[in-house]
Assembly symmetry: C2
Homo-oligomer: 106 residues x 2
């Protein structure tokens, strides 16, 4: 399976989670549902367009849900789905490695 990339599970995971922000978004959502503007404030370097596209991609992968509450103005919340909760292990591995990197490079 390692000879050719197509079909490789690591590539499949990167296809869905790749890009600079998606795992970070998942990380924030592990804390609980968040509104669009909360995510935007949490990631000040991401453009509004990129955030929209990444959220939509994660929604299409059924890893997050988008709920519109009929209020004025309407409130939109993003949350991890039950399937998205599976990403806890992936985010955890990234976080642990990132902590080690930061410690090493102090």
């Amino acid at each position: 399976m390692k000879e050719n990339v197509s079909g490789c599970p690591v590539e499949e995971a990167m296809r869905v989670l790749g890009g600079r922000w998606r795992l970070l978004l998942i990380w924030f959502l592990l804390d609980g549902p968040k509104r669009f503007n909360e995510l935007r404030r949490a990631l000040p370097n991401i453009s509004q367009r990129m955030l929209t596209l990444d959220l939509r991609a994660l929604e299409e992968s059924r890893l997050i849900s988008r709920t519109v509450f009929p209020e004025v103005p309407p409130r939109v919340e993003y949350a991890l789905t039950e399937e998205g909760q599976r990403l806890r292990a992936v985010v955890g591995a990234f976080q642990e490695f990132g902590l080690w990197l930061k410690q090493r490079d102090v």
Copy 2:
């Protein structure tokens, strides 16, 4: 720490491992040292330039080493460093999630 992205360990890990190919390269190297052309064949969609840049970035992060053997023609091998071996857990988490994704989306 989650309020602002700078300093967050998940972002730090993404900075070093982000991009479509780096974790895949690490995955191949977990098998053992590989030559440039072996990696290129393993990832037919990556351009030579991108492969060079990604390998160089991983080398600068001290996660892989580059060894030139004085042969004719010179043989260049890439291998995980001891520090790079720490990525086994990260790759493992990606692989497991990717396997689940593929099963789900059959």
